[in-house]
């Protein structure tokens, strides 16, 4: 696990705080979107990088939460309260993760990948093939959730700068929560499970319960991200739940470097920004994306955040020899 460099983190934080003062609306909205994806990617890193559970169905929890926001509104012009709809949406994602996890965690390895994929496809087709929330077309959400506490107007989710800072706070809180979680006995046990599950059981750990708890927490945090993604775009459709979305977020985690959370954030920034860059250059940008990902994986097998480490070792090796 690569150690986070505090100086670098602080610098990144300053840059994120200062960004709205330096650029226009386009980048403020783009970076807000990236921060949402970063929270989503961190939640998956808890499974893939920390616990060693490769899930290919994580979009189900992201998407369900977005749908819950839309379904919570009595009609699509009425604003719902953030403070009631957010807990509802996150709880729905957590519950779905608990049910899917309870079944999927009976399998291991490649079967786990297939079973999580299958369950998320089931959720996808529930929203795709029924008339719930617009079927395959999806549906709009015309008003943002209102954030008043009593008569106190707090912040305005329709204002892109307000929304940006809300997402920055969300990102920091999610990171802080997961860091504390990883430092606890629970977090140490999860790393133990990734390292050697058989040994963990022989020591007396109920690894199934640990994995299910991690799966549920990851689902809840993915739901948190999905809710705000729906808020930002004012639109939900089944694509939010699709396996493309699951693969996309998995790519962020792998690209950034697994198991240290910061990697997931870096991966989200790297993937979305390169997508943005390449798609502005050519309409065949997916080809360039493919090349970029292959190059990144070959040159930096431990991801962008583990990269320094690999190169340093290589240099040290060269000098030593």
């Amino acid at each position: 696990m690569s150690k986070a460099r505090p100086g670098l983190l602080l610098l990144a934080l300053f840059a994120l705080v200062a960004l709205p003062a330096l650029t226009g609306k386009f980048y403020v909205e783009l970076v807000a979107k990236i921060m949402i994806m970063a929270v989503f990617a961190m939640s998956l890193d808890l499974l893939v990088g920390v616990t060693g559970l490769v899930s290919l169905g994580h979009a189900a929890f992201f998407g369900l939460s977005g749908y819950m926001l839309v379904l919570a509104a009595p009609d699509k012009y009425a604003a719902v309260s953030l403070w009631t709809s957010l807990p509802l949406a996150v709880a729905a994602s957590a519950l779905l993760a608990l049910v899917i996890g309870a079944l999927a965690l009976r399998t291991r390895g490649v079967y786990f990948i297939m079973v999580t994929l299958a369950f998320s496809q089931m959720v996808y087709f529930v929203f795709h093939d029924t008339r719930v929330a617009g079927g395959s077309d999806g549906t709009y959400l015309y008003t943002k959730p209102q954030t008043n506490i009593g008569s106190w107007a707090t912040f305005d989710l329709a204002n892109s700068t307000h929304f940006y800072y809300a997402m920055l706070v969300l990102l920091i809180l999610s990171l802080a929560f997961l860091r504390i979680l990883l430092a606890s006995r629970f977090g140490h046990a999860l790393r133990g499970i990734r390292s050697n599950e058989q040994r963990m059981r022989a020591l007396g750990f109920n690894t199934y319960a640990y994995k299910l708890a991690a799966f549920t927490i990851a689902g809840a945090i993915a739901g948190l991200a999905g809710y705000f993604s729906a808020v930002q775009f004012g639109f939900v459709n089944p694509e939010m739940l699709s396996w493309h979305q699951s693969a996309n977020v998995l790519l962020m985690v792998i690209l950034g470097g697994m198991g240290n959370l910061i990697g997931a954030i870096v991966g989200a920034f790297a993937l979305v920004l390169t997508q943005d860059l390449f798609s502005s250059l050519t309409k065949h940008w997916l080809l360039l994306m493919g090349g970029f990902v292959i190059a990144a994986v070959m040159l930096l097998p431990h991801g962008l955040t583990g990269g320094g480490l690999a190169w340093r070792n290589r240099l040290r090796g060269a000098r030593g020899g």
Binding site: F186, H188, A189, A209
Partner: protein
């Protein structure tokens, strides 16, 4: 005789047509080192895996403190106080020796819901881990990654991790395998000191070692018990002598 801590009765395990363990009965008592010997493929490791809950028995019962156990699982056996080591070193390679033991000690005090408490600063686990490392003489190597330890040190770490969970019963699967004479001597000394208050099942190939420390010896051949009893009686048993023809027992 006092009630056995861990007892197997008519334990059988089949793999397809092969009967790996055939109606084996075995009592492990507190304060005793019970050695289990037999040729390769005699079913010793299968028996340990059955007792540790790693494998389900085809028939027969396992009881702990006189109570028959249903639905055995490794984590359940460990929580009851049945600790085990593996034939091939089975540690957390990327963690340090101390961290391996702390994680093991944590199993006694999981408090998984206390997510605000740092695992690194857990006094109980740290103390238990330090004591376990000290017992096997690995304290000076506490900060080394488990993957960097020598073979003998890793075997010691296996035992230390097991001790960190504070077990009543120790199931040791060939703890001396691959060790030098001096290392073996130390481990045998350690086993003698661990005997107090605990029941130990020792699977071992080294006959000299077995006869040096065992209070009871069970000999297995082709999945079933050939002979069982105090070392002297086993040494003079006709069936055992026939099975070990050519070897000096």
């Amino acid at each position: 005789m006092a009630e056995a801590l861990l007892a197997a009765k008519e334990l059988t395990r089949r793999f397809g047509g092969l009967v790996a363990v055939d109606r084996v009965s075995l009592d492990l008592h507190r304060g005793e080192i019970h050695a289990l010997i037999g040729t390769n493929g005699a079913g010793k490791s299968t028996l340990i895996n059955l007792l540790a809950g790693e494998l389900a028995a085809s028939s027969g019962t396992i009881s702990f403190r006189g109570e028959a156990l249903a639905r055995l699982r490794p984590e359940r056996m460990a929580r009851l106080g049945v600790g085990r080591t593996f034939q091939r070193s089975n540690v957390f390679a990327e963690l340090s020796a101390f961290e391996n033991c702390r994680l093991a000690a944590q199993a006694r005090l999981p408090r998984a819901w206390a997510v605000h408490e740092s695992a690194q600063r857990c006094e109980t686990s740290n103390t238990a881990a330090a004591r376990a490392l000290d017992t096997v003489g690995l304290s000076p190597r506490g900060r080394a990654a488990a993957s960097e330890l020598s073979h003998g040190e890793r075997r010691g770490l296996e035992i230390a991790m097991c001790l960190a969970t504070d077990p009543h019963v120790l199931l040791l699967d060939e703890p001396l395998a691959g060790m030098g004479t001096e290392e073996s001597r130390q481990v045998l000394g350690l086993l003698r000191s661990l005997r107090d208050g605990r029941a130990i099942l020792l699977v071992e190939h080294d006959m000299d070692a077995v006869f040096a420390v065992a209070d009871v010896i069970t000999v297995m051949a082709d999945g079933s018990v050939l002979a069982s009893g105090p070392p002297e009686r086993v040494r003079n048993d006709q069936a055992v002598r026939a099975a070990y023809l050519g070897e000096t027992i």
